[in-house]
Amino acid sequence: MDEKGLENSYLKFLTHLVTAIRKISLYPLKHPSVVSSMNAVYASLSGIITAKNSLGLNVSPGKKIIINDTEVNDKGLGAFDVLSPPLRQLDIEDITFSTGITQKEIEDFLRLVIVDQEQAKKSPDINKALLDNAIQHIKIEQFSYVKIKKDQETVVLGREGLPLDKLKSKIKDYCDGKIVKVFDVENIERELFGAAFFEFKEKKGIGVSLKNLFKRFLLRRQDQAGIMDRLKTALLDFGASGEDVEKIVKKIEEEIARKPKEKAPEARPETVAQEQKESPELKEKTEKLRRDLEAQAGLLEQLKKQNQLLLEEKGRIDNIVHHMADGMVVIGPQGNILMANPSAEALLGISKQDIGKPIKEVVKDEHLLTLVRRLPSEKEAVVEEDIELFSSSESTKKVLRTSSAVVEDHNGKTVGMVTILNDITKQRELEKIKSDFLANVSHELRTPLVAMEKSISLLITKAAGEVNPDQQQFLDITQRNLKRLSLLINDLLDLSKLEAGKMQLRPEPASIEKVINESVEGLMVWAKTKSINIEKRISEGLPELNVDSNRLIQVLNNLIGNAIKFTPAGGRITILAQHRLEHKTIEVSVEDTGIGIPPEDLPKIFSKFYQVSERAPTDISGTGIGLAISKEIVELHGGKIWAESQHSQGAKFSFTLPVTG
């Protein structure tokens, strides 16, 4: 692997590691999503270890991530902000993964460091904690804590006193202009020197984070040469050998000179020199400029933070969309697939590589393309559609329920369409079972009913002998209610036909007046029991229609029956029939003086099983399917049906039938 290749694989490893950490914060460890990201971490890590024998990960305080001495630019991944907080909790600075590492070790390690931090903290030595957990191929180096002794005064840098972290924050304060007293600044300087001395003594080198601190401090102090001299003196004071002093100074100087960006220390003294000569106004201006720059730097920092938060939010949403059980696909205005989650890929039969391509090219089932056909400038909020996928065999047949909504940008311009795909094959199967069941039960119910109807009619017609007037009365009631029952059962049968799309008309020439009369005659007795008056207003000379009379009688029975049910005793029902020449239709209306329908219920009354809330449940309610069937029958005739009502002022149901020829 060449340098470039290595850098790429570092970035890859970092990406997988960050993903894995994000996931174990979201899901249980055994979650497939966590497992898959662990696999990815292990795979990328093994590649690097094979090439380099080990992988050293250093998360330094300067927002830098260094892998095997190479600084890795995470390209907006936000790796630092994911890795740093948990590692900082445990004072971890360097992590070394070495040859022989297993996936389980990585998993255990991340569990210990990210999830079970409390356990890790309890252990006095984190490397021991690793060994206790059978993690042998990962070594940790913590921040160095050092004690320095100067002028009989002990400054402690360590767990009990002043860790590198505190020194860091002090230097930050100094850089931000919060620490100005000469004495304090000198103190910081001395602590820094002490830290350098002890770090070198322990590690035989200067850590990245310490080097960074030096760099930042120097940037502000603007006195490089002077500092280096003081550093040498201090190191000798601490008891370092001349050789070591040279090494330390060299390392720090190297670091400072490493980046051309760090020219500031040289540039600054010049400015200072000038400042002294310039007029007070210019000095003031310069000062103002400096403050502005600092303010801008603060803003930049804020923006970076916000950007980071947004990235995390995006990561979370991506995760949710990715793992949704429903399919979700976004299609652009040109019909290209902009995005699809794995469920959508499975349902549409496409793969990751198809994203970006026109849906027409990648979706094989042409029924699915209705998705795109409905795209142009839909003004409805959501378009719902059930799409049956073509399949030669019943067993693999699929039905998808799709709900699509247009996506607009903030200017209201259509930028695409988002569709949720739901596999409703099972639901469809259940619906079919229900319809079949309905049909069966209705047939079963009809059999005893017919037997009763026939027997009663024998009694009523006195074919079986005389009946007295009281008996006659109760036989009439029985017959009437058997009729009602059989109408209800017919409704159920019709519903199953309607759902199966099997309702058929037997049209023949008929007069609408005859149809109305026949229906009214059948219902007159019922109306009379409630003292309801039925009035007919049928225009003269209505043309003959080509209709299924029995089905139309059923519609009228339903409308008039409802009117009788919901009109109080003593009310009135008016049936109108007129020729609407301009529309080439005949319009039939049934108007009552009943309790009416609340306006919010009007749009729903023609749907199956719907009953106006206020009316239900009552013992005068029906099955709630009469109107749905009526609508189907009228529409099969090519007509329209609708209702008008002023609440508590009666209702008016109307339907039209086309006049042919």
Partner: protein, 129 residues
């Protein structure tokens, strides 16, 4: 039944139900009248002063619950037996707040109306004493 006939009022909008029920109660020696809804029932109670009322819950214009509420405003002790089509009708519980003497479920045998009726009248008499 003593020397004076006991007067029963049946309130239900379904004539196909009130007719056989009236017939049944008449055959047991009661004087029976009917009303179609709550409003008519209130008028009938004020005019004819029945000894007991059978009242359906489901009726147009004024339902049984509302009628019961209103009747209780002017007559606290009149025995009223509620009629319901469903055993689990939640409104029965609500009706309990206003006081009634029993519930007759439409699916039950007519004999039950007699049991309920006699029990209600007996309790009523005891309370009177």
């Amino acid at each position: 039944m003593g020397d004076k006939q006991t007067k029963i009022l049946i309130v239900d909008d379904e004539a196909d139900f009130t007719q056989p029920m009236s017939f049944w109660l008449k055959s047991k020696g009661y004087a029976v009248s009917t009303a179609f809804d709550g409003q008519m029932a209130i008028e009938a109670i004020q005019k004819d002063a029945p000894d007991l009322v059978f009242m359906d819950l489901n009726m147009p214009v004024m339902d049984g619950l509302e009628a019961l509420k209103r009747i209780r405003q002017f007559n606290k002790d009149l025995p009223i037996i509620m009629i319901s089509a469903y055993v689990d009708d939640m409104r029965i519980r609500e009706a309990g707040n206003y006081g009634f003497s029993g519930v007759f479920y439409k699916g039950g045998a007519f004999e039950e109306t007699l049991t309920l009726l006699e029990a209600a009248l007996k309790t009523h008499k005891k309370l009177k004493k």
